[in-house]
């Protein structure tokens, strides 16, 4: 394998693995803000225990998120030196802003959040929870701004030629508010809220089914469910807007997402299908005229197909773009359905009797994760063969001095370390879930628990 494909695999692997964690930090952060807010409002011990329990899981996801995130920041320079020089003037400022305005905020207050229960007042602790969550959300802003600039670059001009060419910023706010930023940031945030909310619902559905921590779990499930309903519905809206931006600024990507080769006066919408890139043909179940209607709200505006663009500008994996996009949309629809159905029963007071529904919520934790991953695969594979859309090709962006052997070495290294890391994550997550939140009622009855508590005191 050559250095380009190895570098692409390494970047894809390290970013995909990393992206399991930040959405959980953002989503869990938001749910914890509500939980702790309830604790402050009601003063009930139950909400404190709930918050403390989720804080432990938050700490775990945050820790792995930071450890794998530092890799990302340096990988631009190590593997994509030409790209780094090309975009540094523009992209670098977004990354620097992320570090100084967002990451410092979240990591600074994280210490108070995790270790400060006995050191600061309840209000200061709550404030720290909000700051950490905001910091995580600000991080997402700058990172998505940087990525959106690569998708729909604005606010810059090109200086120099050939290998010396580079983008220089001309208008900072035009760079920040490039055509796809706002839609994509809100889309990413909502995806993160869903990832967090569904994790909380999954764990508490499991407790209810097992018959433990029932009162606490019902409350926690309710809080997360409300987050999920609002987020999943809004996601429909931001998703649609994102697709419209793609249609306008990256028509080739849209054609790949929808599996259209021929330019048709009225384009159909595939619900599911298979793209044969060799024969340039898509087969599947479709809604006649659906795509034209979705994009233009009429029955006549044509949509351009892949064939109307030079082949060298086509993404190299059209079917993968098509499939990941369609799976993401399908999951999004399912999340709306299940959240609405559940919230309807929550208000009727019959939700927690429906064990079959709770049983669906337990594995449903994977769905937002898959949708988040697949959404990014669509965006990034659909952007190929460009790294900066229309300006710099991925194949021209590599480090001149790095060889395939170097990358093979680091790829093997990262694979080993990340497999270990993922194993640890699952193991510790499982243990924390098995251990569960502290239950005040249990404390009085369980001699083992009080024994543990006293031994802890002795240790101090």
């Amino acid at each position: 394998m050559d250095v380009e494909i190895l570098s692409r695999i390494q970047f894809a692997f390290t970013i995909a693995f990393h992206y399991i964690y930040p959405p959980l930090s953002i989503g869990l952060g938001l749910v914890m803000v509500f939980m702790e807010g309830m604790y402050l409002r009601t003063g009930k011990k139950m909400y404190e225990n709930m918050t403390r329990f989720w804080l432990k899981i938050f700490a775990l996801t945050f820790g792995i998120g930071v450890a794998t995130g530092i890799v990302m920041e340096f990988e631009f320079g190590t593997n994509w030196a030409v790209y780094s020089r090309y975009v540094g003037d523009v992209f670098g400022s977004a990354l620097a802003a992320e570090g100084i305005f967002a990451f410092a905020l979240e990591s600074g207050f994280l210490g108070v959040l995790l270790f400060g229960w006995n050191r600061v007042s309840k209000r200061v602790h709550f404030f720290s929870t909000i700051m950490v969550t905001l910091g995580a959300m600000f991080s997402a802003i700058w990172i998505v701004v940087a990525n959106s600039w690569q998708q729909t670059p604005t606010g810059f001009h090109i200086v120099g030629e050939g290998m010396q060419a580079r983008a220089e910023i001309t208008d900072f706010w035009a760079m920040v508010f490039n055509p796809s930023s706002v839609e994509r940031i809100s889309h990413v945030w909502l995806g993160a809220f869903l990832a967090g909310a569904f994790l909380v619902m999954s764990v508490h559905a499991y407790y209810i089914l097992k018959g433990r921590n029932i009162e606490l779990s019902k409350k926690a499930f309710g809080i997360a469910l409300k987050v999920a309903v609002v987020s999943s519905l809004l996601q429909l809206f931001t998703g649609h807007q994102s697709a419209e931006v793609v249609a306008e600024y990256q028509p080739i990507k849209l054609a790949a997402m929808e599996g259209h080769y021929d330019s048709l006066s009225v384009a159909d919408l595939y619900i599911l299908g298979w793209v044969d890139a060799e024969k340039k043909k898509t087969t599947g179940l479709k809604v006649p005229g659906g795509l034209t209607f979705m994009l233009h709200q009429d029955g006549e505006t044509p949509v351009q197909g892949l064939n109307s663009f030079p082949e060298e500008d086509h993404p190299d994996m059209v079917n993968a773009v098509f499939q990941t996009y369609h799976i993401m949309v399908a999951i999004g629809m399912f999340l709306i359905g299940i959240s609405l159905f559940a919230v309807f029963h929550l208000y009727r007071g019959t939700l927690f009797e429906k064990r079959w529904l709770l049983r669906i919520f337990v594995p449903a934790v994977f769905l937002p994760q898959i949708a988040n991953q697949f959404g990014w695969y669509t965006a990034e594979m659909g952007r190929q063969p460009w790294v900066v859309y229309g300006h710099l090709r991925t194949s021209d962006a590599l480090s001149e001095t790095v060889t395939a052997n170097h990358v093979a070495f680091s790829l093997v290294l990262f694979t080993l370390v990340y497999v270990l890391l993922f194993g640890l994550f699952i193991y510790l997550l499982n243990r924390k879930i098995k251990h569960g939140p502290d239950d005040p009622e249990l404390h009085q009855h369980s001699p083992r628990h009080s024994q543990m508590a006293s031994s802890l005191n002795q240790e101090n």
Binding site: A96, G108, G111, F115
Partner: protein, 344 residues
Amino acid sequence: METILGFDYPTLWFFVVGGVFTGYAILDGFDLGAGSLHLFFRKEKSRRIALNAIGPVWDGNEVWLVIGGGALFAGFPIIYANMFSAFYIPFMLFLVMLIFRAIGIEVRSKEENKTWRKFWDVAYSLSSVLIAFLLGVVVGNIIIGIPLDENHLFRGSWLDFLNPYSLLVAITTVALFMMHGAIYLTMKTEDRLYERLTVLVKNSTIFFVMSLVIVTIYTLLYIPHMVDQLSAHPVMFIIPLIMMLAVANITRQISKRKYLYAFLSSAVVISMLLIIVAVELYPTVIFAPNNPENSLTVYNAASSEKSLGIMLTFAAIGVPLVGTYTAFVFYTFRGKVKLDESSY
């Protein structure tokens, strides 16, 4: 060219990047030092206290590395791109060590099992030493310079980075962080662990002073460009002078058991060492000994003035903010470590 207080933008950004990396060295320096000393503590409780001494702050400290990386990428993209790809293998090892260290801290106390804890103690401590060591290798190579071609690219093998001088700087860095970390830990501990640390502080200070003397002699004898500015501007002799006084003050404060003052002095030592390197190199950042024309300077590697202006604004707003909440966190967790149910 636009200037503020007589400094042009690339120079000001050089101050920012230098300042952030100095902040990183001071803050993560004591974390890494504490980690390097971890295996010297025998008892389980000692290890937990030592770990929790850095518990609430190590993550925030590491952020300075991330900010520094971002600042370098944004302000001097050519240095960021060319150096990181040149140091590819050492850098990948560095990143993996950072991961191991973070995970070690995070998980070692989450299991009662002795073998588990022993494994993560070793992973944590070893990775701390190696991170300090690799940082030293980078600084060492920056001091002696890196051969660059006319496109400012390094075409040699990464094994070239493991030259005697850089290894010496690397050992000195480990020693410096051990001293710095040991002093920090004495401020956070009591009783027997504290007594043990007072001995470790002395030993690591001796280790550092010896390494520093050898590195200094080596530099004076073999790396002439490291004394150009000092020879040309005798007034700058004040910098090494302050550093030596700070070193002397560390030993003085240690014998008086005033560890806060010792800690501040060792922070001064770290700053002065980095300032000497910066002063001697400026305006060059990466010196190319094969042909000085190929060197990377703050001028030929900088982003546009527009971009630097935007980021100087960021720094002016952001740095005081970061300083404020760093101070808030340190204030919150002041005093001796007390283990509780949320501790590592």
